[in-house]
Symmetry: C2
Subunit: 252 residues, 2 copies
Amino acid sequence: MSNLNYPTACVIIIGNEILSGQTVDSNLSFIAKRLITLGIQVKEARVIPDHEQTIIDVVNTCRKNHTYVFTTGGIGPTHDDITSKSVAKAFERPYVCNEEARKLIFSVVPSRGPNDSRIRMAYMPEGAILINNPVSHAPGFQIENVFVLAGVPNIAHAMMETLDSRINNGKPIYTKVIHCIAYESVIADCLRDIQNAHPNVEIGSYPTWHITKDRGVKVVLKSRDLNDLEKTEKCIFQMALDHNFHAEEINL
Amino acid sequence: MSNLNYPTACVIIIGNEILSGQTVDSNLSFIAKRLITLGIQVKEARVIPDHEQTIIDVVNTCRKNHTYVFTTGGIGPTHDDITSKSVAKAFERPYVCNEEARKLIFSVVPSRGPNDSRIRMAYMPEGAILINNPVSHAPGFQIENVFVLAGVPNIAHAMMETLDSRINNGKPIYTKVIHCIAYESVIADCLRDIQNAHPNVEIGSYPTWHITKDRGVKVVLKSRDLNDLEKTEKCIFQMALDHNFHAEEINL
């Protein structure tokens, strides 16, 4: 599937807990699926520690290489939440208290006084545009093409769902998934021929043989050209007939 | 937690299905936890597409920057499995049929003749050392400091479990997790003071308040110095007493 001139995205997952294996990230999958509905492919993801210079370097590299960058994690009130400050440094902008964010944070439970550490969550790069947090009020923010989201999955997902209008849609990406009850090695040669004949369709092959009830291969077709996609799907079903195995489309 | 002179690792997750959100990666967490038992921290992970030049570039960058690199995905028999060939190119080594690998692959189900696409799984960089696959026989391989594993989780995990003897242990990393029944913003200032007083201990703070039964904050302590770790743990329990909330250690 050619991607020339289409918008791309990068997801930066920030957090020692992901790199230590303590937490399994689920934000990448959610963000990627959401962006695909907007016609945007995530072309790269990075998992990096809560380390200032690393965050600065990776944000600066990725925002140059991609149309959109989404970061998750590190915008809470504790000492290890250094994403906002690091992003401000990446953009060489002052790290300031955003008045609108401050009001949102204290809208439910009022401030407990000058030592209230929640005030840290109102600090962000000067000029940042807030991202609404329908779950716990402390907002994320956008600065140029970088969207800074929370790490807690239900908050990250809720924030992501507010962003559609800020993202310029790419040409839609269509997906079909066909479950083939066959060994991957049996279909490999034929699948390669089908791929070569349909360069506008990205064909992925994922064995699921280790799960008894789901034995077989998931063949995933993706394209921005619906006509090509449907032709390719027909070839997959023809392959199933020729090789005498069962194949059926799975609804996503 | 200072990491000067300690071995580091990088995990490269190769696969369009992860970047499209179709599949949630679980290999990073497994590999990271396994390495921590050997005293090695994963300092970086990358998720990249099945794209040759990207694989070459990322493998070459990461193998220079880290003691160990682990890749997952893309070593099956289909057209989109291009990891082995790309790694051969990264190392500028011929991509050849490994005789030992060929025998292993055909040990259970014999070859069906010259068109048997399983033979592709025996191709790897010249001089690679096999990584045993106790699940489905097609091996992974090691070349210098790069370990090339399958993407299917139970195979990747089984391969990883065979590698302990090939990895030079770092100084052990000790971990303690304390579940605090408190809002993160309540403990943030105190936690910062504890962190500042114990620079050899990495203190992470992860709110779990969205899950009712598990409401609170998981405070994760990591250190290569067990004495420092235990002192820090005492400070956390003292904080709980001072602020009048419940705290208890969680067994990992």
